[in-house]
Amino acid sequence: MSASFVHAMRRKAVRLTVNAVIAVFALLPILWGFLSSLKPTDKIVEFPPRFLPEHPTLEHYTRIFADNAAYFIANSVAVSAAAVLLTLALGALAGYAIARFRFAGRDTLMVSTVAIMSIPIASLLVPTFTLLSWAGLADTRLGLVLLYAAYQLPVVVWMLYGYFLSLPVEIENAARVDGCSPTRTLFKVVLPLSKPALVAAGLFVLVFAWNDFVVAVTMTSSETARTFPVAIYFYLGFYGREWGPLLAASIVSIVPIVAIFVLLQRHFVSGLTGGGVKG
């Protein structure tokens, strides 16, 4: 066996070990949650704990779907998707204006973007509920969409602005000379080139909207507008904490978002690139 082969093997072993450590660090708590979700109720809090379920059961998964989980998931999907689209649309318009136009108030706008990011959302809940109620938007999915968009817009503007800056301006100029309006140029020329950035920014909005609990539980009350995280919280009930369905629902809530991330991962990193470096 040659020395270089041994060297390569050793490197591979080191790499594998480090990767294994990272994976355990990241996934152990979630794995524990998943394994526990497969245990019957009386085994979940058993002492001393057993890592693997003795008699795996899907009863908690059956239970959450009997509790209408499909409807709440659909609600979450609708609200998250709408929030992502709305945020990207408004963010693209504003980001484009900042990237390509010099206008009075531009600097103020950029500073306010950062300022708005620094507001603790928890402090806005009570006043927001009041305003939303007055506008007739409390307890509606539309209200949630608007709020999520409002909270995530500053970050998205920032990211898209950076990415737009990194694009060559010549193509846009050509389109403008051909008689395209700025908005048309944005949608026909700039956005198609910005797919990776849109994906990256969209994913940040998605993570927020999909997982939000605090805003949704304050702003909604009826089952019609209930999102999945709020439904999950119902398992922390007045008559006790139901670990089984709680964990099962949590695991179910992880699956779609992980799937989307894995699917779009390539774009995700490259989408941040432009914004990251030239911002």
Partner: protein, 290 residues
């Protein structure tokens, strides 16, 4: 002339929807919150105007001062450790290939799941009584420590929670920066005989200045405003050791039902955030000139 005028309004038309949304749903509530902060608000109803009294009450409250200390400790360690870990992960997983791609996805999982769920699972894992920390820490000879029952280790657990979830965020932001450094630069440096550390210092770090700034600013804002981690993982305890300022504010508003001081505190936290971000920007600008 006509087109000129049309052109003048274009950027304003583009930003109008975004500005309107922010004005209605962020600035509006912020102002209402400010209005609350000037009043005695009992049980969610305004009783009387009290001027700056709530602010005085808040800044002289020993609990609030304690919570500021907790926030400072948490944000400081969480920021440094999360950033370093995120940077290390980014460097480790920079090269393409199937295993790196898979590992990036693995690291991102804690970031993608709901913070509520993540912190609940970690609490379970850290619990000595539930026997899980014995399962995990036992082999390390730490099976007998109750992490969450001691103020210092509870704070460490909170910082761990931050690292666990947010290192992935730092990683992804920095990874994007790393990707945009032309490989030719590293190659040239290697030809010139620069070792790995030298290349990191002279090429990677300077070119990553902006991504680093963005990552640090966003992490800092996130950590200073943290609520879910302490609310779920430590409940602010033991002995208020992990009751950070936003948790204090949340409790004043939603559990004590005294919105005046809660909103006064919120406004102060907001101003402090702005100050911090401004300081960071200045710091980076100065560092950039050197």
């Amino acid at each position: 002339m006509e087109t000129r005028r049309a052109e003048f309004w274009v950027p304003y038309r583009l930003i109008a929807p975004a500005v309107a949304l922010e004005a209605a749903l962020v600035i509006g509530p912020l102002l209402v919150g400010f209005w609350y902060s000037l009043h005695n608000v009992r049980f969610f109803q305004i009783r009387s105007f009290v001027g700056w009294d709530n602010y005085v009450r808040v800044v002289t409250s020993p609990e609030v001062l304690e919570s500021l200390l907790a926030t400072t400790i948490f944000a400081f360690f969480a920021l440094i450790l999360t950033f370093v870990l995120g940077f290390a992960l980014a460097l480790w997983l920079e090269r393409d290939g199937r295993s790196a791609t898979l590992m990036r996805a693995v690291v991102l999982v804690p970031y993608m799941i709901a913070m509520l769920v993540g912190s609940m699972l970690l609490k379970w894992l850290f619990s000595h009584e539930a026997g899980l920390s014995q399962l995990v820490l036992g082999p390390l000879g730490m099976g007998n420590t109750s992490i969450l029952a001691n103020p210092k280790s509870a704070m460490a657990a909170l910082v761990f929670n931050a690292m666990w979830r947010d290192a992935a965020f730092a990683m992804i932001m920095l990874l994007a920066g790393l990707k945009s450094i032309p490989p030719s630069l590293h190659l040239a440096a290697r030809v010139d005989g620069a070792d790995a550390w030298m290349r990191f210092r002279r090429i990677t770090l300077p070119l990553l200045r902006i991504p680093i700034l963005i990552t640090v600013v966003r992490l800092l804002i996130h950590f200073v405003n943290i609520l879910t981690f302490p609310l779920i993982l430590t409940g602010g305890g033991p002995g208020n050791a992990t009751e950070v300022v936003v948790l204090r504010m949340f409790r004043l508003g939603f559990q004590d039902h005294i919105l005046g001081p809660a909103n006064a505190l919120a406004i102060l936290v907001f101003l402090a955030n702005l100050l911090l971000v401004a300081m960071l920007l200045l710091l980076f600008r100065r560092a950039g000139r050197l």
